[in-house]
Symmetry: C2
Subunit: 278 residues, 2 copies
Amino acid sequence: MTEHATAFVPGHITAFFSAHPADDPALAGSRGAGLALSDGVRVRVTPADGRSVSLDGLPIEMPPVESVLDALGVEARVEADSDLPIGTGFGVSGAMTLGTALAASAAFDTQRTENELVELAHAAEVTAGTGLGDVVAQARGGLPVRLEPGAPGHGSLDGLPARPRVEYLTFGELSTESVLSGDTAALTAAGEAALERLLEQPDVSTLFAESRRFAREADLLTGRVSEAIEAVADAGGEAAMAMLGRTVFATGTGLTDAGYDPRRCTVQPGGATLVADE
Amino acid sequence: MTEHATAFVPGHITAFFSAHPADDPALAGSRGAGLALSDGVRVRVTPADGRSVSLDGLPIEMPPVESVLDALGVEARVEADSDLPIGTGFGVSGAMTLGTALAASAAFDTQRTENELVELAHAAEVTAGTGLGDVVAQARGGLPVRLEPGAPGHGSLDGLPARPRVEYLTFGELSTESVLSGDTAALTAAGEAALERLLEQPDVSTLFAESRRFAREADLLTGRVSEAIEAVADAGGEAAMAMLGRTVFATGTGLTDAGYDPRRCTVQPGGATLVADE
């Protein structure tokens, strides 16, 4: 047991997805593609007598984080600091869950491998209904493509090698739970078709085009989001909508060129990791 | 086609391995474990009329790099800059091969996914006889564990989550080709047993203990290497021998504490990546 351990987990924007439920949460998940961001969440876990979870200094209820602590059989203080807006499609819940798994395992020396910890966090997210594919994508980094749903050893991943700069802008929340608990048949059909087309032409431009088409077909575009995507296109750039949030993301200086004042970051080349010993 | 593209590939120290040849180079490979290092190789690929390959400014013969260019059907100038000593167990050949695949694909916009490029580089290394497991480990980063041999989609990987600081020191070359083309039955038996024990207790201390045991059983320890490993142990640290080079690596300040003057780096959390657009 150490004094504490810290993990960094990239934010993850889902460009498009299909939902694949299953009784075993390690087999459940999503297929699709997205972007892992250099903006992310740092999670510090400190062994403690009681249990507490905070985000940016404020106490927060986070059931999948609790599940991870339960599964590891530990009591700890979990302190997360995030660069990202919450509830707007950046995978903050997945980041806190995976970060807790990595940091708690290190702090308590539970001797688990990376795959085991990713599976633990993935299953906790799926069971809590807070996400289907963020954890495995955040574990990989880059521009992750989820070929088959599920935790490591069950699902499978690929990635686009490009490392574009990214801008993003948020207009508000969209509840992941409400969309994922609704009728996902149309979403899934659109997501599977998008993945097929991306794999035929695996580049950033196709990723964005398929993301826009997915949001349109799934009827998820709202006024200001749709407006911003068009404004970026008019300025000669590429933008799309984050699944699931009223968030627009663009490559390069797309949103700036269209007259917005976005946040800027890069694609995070590696995935979630413990922060190196000081 | 762009002006040029650059990839960074971490160095990779193999702690122990078992060799698994196969007719199809995508299925061939090794099982084992090792360390991906923040010291690595930057490979810049520039489309050109003719073909040239250099390492740290000097022309070099590198058959797997040529194979990658052949497979992509391109002519280019490949310029590699390395932090690492060559021929001493850091996977410089794998790094140049994988870096060429990533950067050439980007420079010529060949629309290949990460898995496709890793497979291309892995097959080129295996066919050239210059390595069996470096490429897939370098693609993953961290402390990669090769569970099953082969390229993505065939082999499988896990990793230890720890991110220790690393020191290393080199006393000279050991030919990968000569060891891999010899009788590898004893090596393979020792490597498989080491992997089994590491997976029972997946931590850094076991990684080093199994690496030392592998080198001893495979009769690869030489005087100065063995001396340095003992000196680090006497100073209370953990060290082992890189497969395959007369190289000693240690965690933390192990070699410094034992009175040596080593190179210092960290574990590279992510694997090989294109360098982000400037």
